[in-house]
Symmetry: C2
Subunit: 341 residues, 2 copies
Amino acid sequence: MLAGGVGGARFVRGVREEVRRHRPGASVDVIVNTGDDWWLAGLRITPDLDSMLYTLSGQNDEVRGWGRVGESERVSAELQAYGVTPEWFTLGDLDLGTHIARTAWLRAGATPSEVIARLQERWELGVTLHPATDDEVDTHVVVADPGAPGTDENAEGERELHFQEWWTRHRASIPALRFHQHGLHRAIPSVGALDALLGADIVLIAPSNPVVSIGTIVSIPGMAQAITASPGTVVGVSPIIAGAAVRGMADACLQAIGVATDAAAVAQHYGARSRVRHAASGIRGLLDGWLVASEDAAAVPVVEEAGITARAVPLWMRDLDTAADLARDAIDLALELRSRP
Amino acid sequence: MLAGGVGGARFVRGVREEVRRHRPGASVDVIVNTGDDWWLAGLRITPDLDSMLYTLSGQNDEVRGWGRVGESERVSAELQAYGVTPEWFTLGDLDLGTHIARTAWLRAGATPSEVIARLQERWELGVTLHPATDDEVDTHVVVADPGAPGTDENAEGERELHFQEWWTRHRASIPALRFHQHGLHRAIPSVGALDALLGADIVLIAPSNPVVSIGTIVSIPGMAQAITASPGTVVGVSPIIAGAAVRGMADACLQAIGVATDAAAVAQHYGARSRVRHAASGIRGLLDGWLVASEDAAAVPVVEEAGITARAVPLWMRDLDTAADLARDAIDLALELRSRP
């Protein structure tokens, strides 16, 4: 599976449940977005990996929708009093335990893959988490700033924010001109991600943000090639229902890359999987199959016209059962496509 | 002032109070022991500087005797669950805010002196804190271990523990053969410590552990020379009352260096200040004056025989008033010695 944070975690939990119920013996590997990661107060914060860890271990706050249940913020208040963290980003106390452990291990020489492996030893997750890459490729957002001078990184009249500042502080309200992953050209996929893709029967793309979650994962040099080369059948789930993002602020991200907030448009953006690059764009297509919401049944023929098999199914994950049903629909479509001659 | 942690902080608070009451305009610099410092979970912990910071800012837990008031340990429980900290050392949540801020600034290139300056900006301490050194000279304890092979650092049948493990985990119950400060020969005093000593009218040595607090400070190459060269008059306060350490486990430390747990023996160990080295030991004497407890009045002539002016005064710091009275006695003795022709 390819997945981002909170929304991705719900789908992964559904897949885990479906596997437990109907496909015992199947193993699930999750390639998790690392583009939202950043350094704050000398600590390495990896929001999507942590959302996975907390949701799959049952430690997540279901009511608030993110972070640990029973969380407090005593340390964060201290950090703000010392002026070491900004007032717009608080860190939970329980969550900080994870960040401190991670950073200690990283400083001692462990890779991010080794760190998440150690962290998940604490609970029986039932799936294996992998960072998309062990390299630091933190997403930045380029926005207009009429007075800004040109720099090596940016043209005159533009400036860059870390993704977290744009997302958390500004709630994605400043129009993004484009996204910029520092160090992307030097990055490679993690070994766990490559192993999982190249040994998969089915590759599922979670209904996560198609730009800054899934888009960031597949932009890592070598990742799209590994998906193309995978023996698995690739089925994605639309993150857009009836023209609106299921959660988060995906529309602000899609707008920046010129893609409509539309279940069919996202499938077209991902493209039909093919062993060759698309001649025009140089982009490799990802999808064999695509699930849209029942509300978006009209998108099915549009998607199929792009060479992607599509189905309209119930897409809202209201609870574990609906998430498991969605997982079953995705797996069923993949198996159906695999059984074709 | 030269001082260790909790006991030192009480005396510093007394000096601050005495200065506020009777000597406005005087400034107080405190050279704080850094030998108890260590790295834990990737964070730099400086117990003595933090005890100073919390006591002088009124954030300390008076009942427990150490740490922050209203402390909790939620993060520490997480760190232990991840296996990143040992079960015998817990870190308070509020205290962790300080450690995270410190470590972030250190990682960004600040010196320990710059870090404590930034931390104390948060409160009006009324004194200036300086680490004894900006170098890492963490104290280790050599203990007998019949089975241990010889290493570069230790002889056969010996092993080393970090001071914190010996002190906190074993409560100093394993006899110490000796103390070993890694990197001591490369260390130099902090600029703040040197400036304070070389510009002082009075140098006070707090009733802190004479081995692992005061002993560690003065063992930093150049520190004893700076005390010898200081224009200030040096008065120390005995950490031993009636043959017992006022607090902590000073007796276990004194035993390791062959000094009796006795107010006179500690003064003799510090030695009479002189512009020349003691021919026999190579050690520079520190003291012009020495305060012993009223209970130890019999020690006065013994100390004076060693060339150190001694007084017997009430030494128990039960509250702010008794601490301020002790500070006044120390300052009065220094002024008396300064007025001598």
